[in-house]
Each structure stands twice: as C-alpha cells, then as structure tokens.
C-alpha cells in the first residue's frame, strides 16, 4: 500500500509538473490541480497509512491514539483542499480575464516564439 501511494504521488506530481511547464493557461490550471492532489496525498501520507481506523471516537471511554489514524494531517489536508479550491478558482478567472484582455491563452499573454 505504501509503495502504491508513493508511486501515485510521484505520477501525479510528474504529470502536474509537466503541465505547469506548458505554455497554455488551461494546461496550467489542470497541472496545478493535479499537483494539489499529489500534495494532499503527500500530506496525508505524512501521518503514515492506516486502514479502517478513521479518527472518529467510538462510544467506549478509553481512546487510545494508537487505535486511530493520525487526525492532524487530515485536518491539514482539509485546509489545503479549501485553499486549493479557492486559488484554482482565482487562477481560472484570472486567465479568463487575461484572455479577454490579451486575446491570447498563452501564459505570457502573447505567443512567445
């Protein structure tokens, strides 16, 4: 499982980076989204992997941290997801406006070569 997730993170990062280096604004948006998936998974993995141990406390009174997956990275990822959503939206709108003003969907507002 660890290996799978590590590879997944790697592939997502790779595709994201590739797109982020492309010249079209839309590629940028997709790339950053992929990257934020990768980063979210990365953050989650920093709490190590636990199946079937959701940090939702059972009824019984004694709660042993060892029985639950690390809740902190989950909280961090939640924040990251929200912020990621916000910034993706902003970037999208900015590139729309940019295209409206520059007539081009090149990240530099003009065809470079």
């Amino acid at each position: 499982m660890e290996l799978t997730l590590a590879l997944a993170i790697g592939v997502l990062t790779g595709s994201g980076v590739w797109l982020v280096l492309r010249p079209r604004t839309y590629q940028l948006v997709i790339g950053l989204s992929l990257l934020s998936y990768a980063v979210n998974l990365f953050i989650l993995s920093m709490g190590r992997l636990r199946g079937a141990a959701a940090p939702v406390l059972g009824a019984d009174g004694n709660w042993n941290p060892a029985d639950y997956a690390d809740p902190l990275p989950q909280a961090l990822v939640l924040t990251a997801i929200v912020i990621g959503f916000a910034t993706t939206a902003l970037l999208l709108v900015v590139l729309l406006v940019a295209r409206g003003l520059t007539r081009s969907d090149h990240v530099d507002g003009r065809e470079s070569r």
Binding site: L32, F42, V97
Partner: protein, 544 residues
Amino acid sequence: MAWSQHLIIVPILLPMIAGAALLLIDETSHALKALVSLASTILLLVAGMVLMRMAADVPDGSEALSFSYAVANWPAPFAIVLVLDRLSALMLVLTAILGLAALTFSLARWHRAGPHFHSLFQFLLMGLGGAFLTGDLFNLFVFFEVTLAASYGLLLHGSGVFRVRSGLHYISINLAASLLFLVGVSLIYGVTGTLNMADLADRLPGLADDDRVLFQAGAAILGIAFLVKAAMWPLGFWLTPAYMAAAAPVGAIFVILTKVGVYVLLRLTLLLFGSPAGELTGFGGVALLWGGIATIVFATAGVLASQALGRLAGYSVLISAGTLLAAVGMGDASVVSGALFYLVSSTLSTAALFLLIELVERAREPGADLLAVTMEAYGEEGEESEEREDEEVGVVMPGALAVLGVAFGCIALLLAGMPPLSGFVAKFAMLTGMLNLDGMGDPSEIPGRTWLLVALVILSGLAALIAMMRTGIRTFWAPLQPVLPRVLVVEVAPILVLIGLCLAMTVGAGTIVSYTDATARSLHDPASYIRGVLGGSAPGQAPP
C-alpha cells in the same frame, strides 16, 4: 489572563473584523468604508506601539524573551500559539505604518477604482499580522495564504492588461510556491511529529540520522517557498512586473510582502539552525548568502537598466531583499542587528518611492524615460536650440513640483544609502557589523565573501544613485515649462511622513540600534524563545 496579553491577538482580529464589516457596508458609501478602514488601521498602529513597548520592556537577560498566547486555550505545543517578541513587534509596527500611509494615499482616488478595496486591504493587514505573530508552521502557511489572497486581489485592483498579465504570473508562481510550502511543512511534521516552531527546535537535536536527512529535505523545500516570497534570484523575477503593475498604494504596501519571507527565514534559521542545533547548525546559511549576493547583482543591473520608475522601484525592492537575505545568511548578531535597521529603513523608503512614482508620472511628459538615457549617451551634443542656453537666471520651481523634487531627492539618497537620511546609517550599521563581527576592534580575519558583500552593498547604492539621478534630472530639471501635476495633500502627506520617519531614524539611530541589537541578541538565544513558548515562564523573570 491580563488584558495586555489579549492585545497580542488584536493585530489579526481587528483587521479581520474590520474587513468583514466592510463587506457588509454598501458599495456606494465610500466615505463610511474609508472611515472604518482608516480607524481600524490607526488602532492597529496604536496596538502595535503598545505591543512593541511590551516586548521592549522585557529586561535583556531575563529567562524568556517572548510572550506566547495560546489561541483556543490549549497548551503549547498542541495549540496554535502566537508569539510576541521584539522582532515580531517591530514588524507589526512597520506594517501598521506602511498600511496607514498606503491607505491614506489611496483615499485620493484608488479606493474607488474597484469594489471592496478596503476589505482586501484589511485582510492583507490581517494576514501580515498573523504571519509575523504565529509560532506554528502550518498556521504560518494559512496566514501566508491570507496575505497572498489579499495581495492577489489588491494587485488586480483596477484591472487592465498589464495588471492582469503580471497578476497571472504572480499568482501562478505563488501557487506553486504554496504547494512547496505544504510539502515542506508536512514533511517536517511527518518526521518530527510537531508543527510548533519552539517544540520543533526543541526536538531537532534528538533526531535520528535518517529522520534528520528527511527533515533537512523538508526544511530546504520549505526554504524554497520562502525564498520565492522573498524574491531571491532566480526565483524572484515575478516581483518587478507585479509591483510596477500594482496601483501606487498597493505597491507601497507590497513592499512589506517580500520582508515577510525574509522575516520567516531569519526567525526559522536562527531558531532551528542556531548554535544548539547540533548537526544542523548553520544549515542553509551559505545558500542564503550567495543567493542574496546574486540577487543584489541582478537587481543592481536591473535598477540601472530601468527606464520606467516603477521598474526601478521594483528592482530596489529586490536589492533590499537580496541584501537582507545575504545578511541573514551571514547570520551573526552584529550583522542581523544592522540588517534589521536596514530592513526598516529600506521598507519605508521604497514604499515612499512607490507612492511618489504615481505623482511624479503626472509631472512627466511621455517618453522622458527613454530620453533620460539617450540624452546621457550623447549628452554633449544634446541639441539645445529650444533651451534658454545662456540665460543666467534661475527658473522658479512650482511649489508642487518642488515638493515632489525634494521628496524624490530624499528617496534617492535613501536608496543610495547616502547621508543624511537613515539609508546611510542602515548601510553603515550593516557594513560595520560585517567587518566587526564581535563588535569594534575585533581583530579577526575577514573572509573574501564578506568583502564581496560589502562591495556589492556599496555599489548597489551607487547604482541606485545614478539611476535615480538620471530620472530625477530628466523629470525635475530638464523640462522648460514643467507640467504642473495635480497633487492632493492626502497624497503628499504620507510620502513626507515616511521620509520624515527616515530622518527621525537617523537622529534617533542610537535608540533604534540598541533595540535592534537586543532583538538580534534574543534571536541568537533560541532557548529564551523556546522557554517563552513551552516553558510557560513569563517574560521578565530573572533567570534562576
């Protein structure tokens, strides 16, 4: 809990509430919005002053040098703590001053150039306050994002091709940097199991070898994120276009943004990689030093190559960023103290420049920039047909233009680091610190890179002088009948106040330097910070 303790939350809470309330006020009632915004910013300044006094009153040798405020009343390191010490207090006051100046300036016209300017402005202040106060790595990320989000909004305030295009770059790069931030922070958490800076510093020495490697990787990646914000070469190309595209008041307040990156680097390098860090001591210092040097070189060239004043200003920001980074990279207390003085001085002056530019632009005939250079190239055979060549009577300078000219001159001196303004004291303090690490009369050998840095600091000043002189002469001296700029008092006042502060800094240099000295010393004593956060020992207690 004493009321004064709660004061620590004010720099974050006040602008937040103000910003939110401003959203509820109707778009059309500009006056009311301006009033609320202004009131909040003034209160912010007051609060900053009080906090500064609090931080400064802590006697030097005492056990803990920082106040910590556990948000949500959970014990550190589990809770998010806000930490107030001399450094954060200094940054808060600086922010408030800049904010007040920029805001006042914007009241002339900019705050009506688009919706919700004041809210965004307040949120920016909130983000800055949080970034300077927080003692928690992830919370730092959150406040970085608040700051950035607000800065996106403000940068795009007023729209227009140039703003949007440079905004697109600015946003993209900062998004990428934020992702790196997350990777760094989470990696550090994954290895050390904590997010609290003090706790982190506490745990580092006990790190296993494999973990230390991972930690270093995390810290380095985190560092990249900060360096992007601090605009170190080659990660800072976004800065100049963005800042020159921004509206004048926005550009002015943006000057503090790069300083956030520098602040964090200073705070963390000294806290985590200070002397007690064992294996990790001095981690990354060399990179910062050389990166800073490279930044200075590039920015100096940029300053000289700039035709538009806005670009010049942007590169001046880079110069100061590079200088500070290099100073942080050297890391010695004497240098840091000087660097802090320089930070304040350069921030004030560059901000003033950003405000001034707009007014000056109103007084220039188009294309003056280009002329300024070509005329210099062929200055001798400059055709003087229209000029009253041999008229030996001085021309009367219109009042407004004269004021702008004086302000321009002062800023030129500040950037060049020439007397009598604080720019000189700042550079002198930094240089004398570099040459005498253990105070005056320190006989130790001076390494080559220090010489290089000294030379660059001085030469960058010269470059700024030449560039500013070129533009200044072209703007204020060359035109026969100068364009009379329409300038409002609310626009000039903040500029003059900022310059006045620089003058005051020169006169009161002794006081300020003693403050920065104490700050630098406390930064080099991580234990006191850790005690202040974790030890629960209130500041001011004498060591047992």
